[in-house]
Symmetry: C2
């Protein structure tokens, strides 16, 4: 069995999925049951999840991701990312990789149930639980915020969201098309400080 440390340190964005494999309804429920156990401000539980399987809507999401990438996002990425990671992202966007995910979960916040200052801190822990739960069940997943951030009106229209419901993230889920390598991260110690900023952990 996988420990939490193994699960967490192996998490990696999956951007192309095996089109012959589905994500079952019970697995979607199991993942979202983990999501709703995340903390939220004063336990307000402001989340709503729209589970999308429709190929037409998934195609629209792919187009939105592509539109949000072209230009500034792409330019920034070309400059900052390794060539391998840039190619991986290009394939998922221009190459249509994300559309191969059989399920997209759009994580929304109900602004009637949470003060504006607490939306993100109440939504992204739940979103991370969703990603980890997907990993624990052998699925790959990719967290995107470009869909709701840049094209909110389009998403509201596609999913028929009422005024109080704000889309925050689109999570693509499915069996990975290929085995994913280890995630690339700087060690925690490089970003740890004792008591005051600038006092290194190993000083």
């Amino acid at each position: 069995m996988t420990t939490f440390e193994q699960l967490a340190t192996r998490q990696r964005a999956c951007r192309r999925f095996d089109p012959s494999e589905d994500v079952s309804d019970p697995d979607v429920v199991a993942m979202l049951e983990c999501a709703v156990h995340a903390p939220s401000a004063q336990n307000c539980q402001p989340w709503e999840f729209v589970v999308v399987r429709s190929p037409a809507t998934r195609r629209e999401f792919q187009a939105i991701v592509q539109a949000s990438w072209t230009g500034a996002g792409e330019d920034y990425a070309r400059e900052h990312l390794s060539p391998g990671m840039f190619a991986d992202i290009e394939d998922s966007i221009a190459g249509g990789g994300l559309e191969t995910a059989p399920v997209v979960v759009v994580v929304c916040a109900d602004t009637n149930r949470v003060a504006e200052m607490w939306i993100e801190s109440s939504i992204f822990p739940a979103t991370q639980n969703l990603l980890l739960a997907a990993g624990s069940l052998g699925y790959g997943s990719c967290l995107t915020t470009g869909v709701p951030l840049g094209f909110k009106d389009k998403v509201v229209d596609l999913l028929q969201l009422p005024d109080s419901i704000v889309p925050m993230a689109a999570v693509f889920i499915g069996r990975p098309a290929k085995q994913l390598g280890a995630p690339r991260r700087e060690p925690a110690r490089q970003h740890m400080h004792r008591e005051h900023f600038g006092v290194g952990w190993d000083e």
Copy 2:
């Protein structure tokens, strides 16, 4: 061994800690190693962690939490929370429970490494990994955002944060003073929609 589902669905805010128990340095590193493996926008890894053990700084945090609670937060909570949960929070704040945590990790974002629109979605998944890792090691933890949100200048001063470093959350960690009950959550199904908002999962 605990499965991820068990770990995630048992997570509960801990607001009073056993003062006779510490959190070891290797455990702090192990938790933050999980944190840095969370996803971030374009893998920008914008986090910095200030690990506070100083009783004087912890006392200041307790005072900040108390100041941020008194008034609107308290009034809202009294109206919306169960009497048991309200009493638990009152004890942690007016009663000094949070100050009993031997370690407080202040999770910060380096705005030189992340665009403003991506700060929260790049910081709170890592913060949730920190909380889950604490739980997997038998620690209790409590995520608070009142410290940085309401009293940012004070936190900047206490931790000597440079201009580009923004405090986002204060996580209190230690051995729980008492065994925590099961978290109270509405079932995921009540907040799941098929394809469009308003189409219930079981319809």
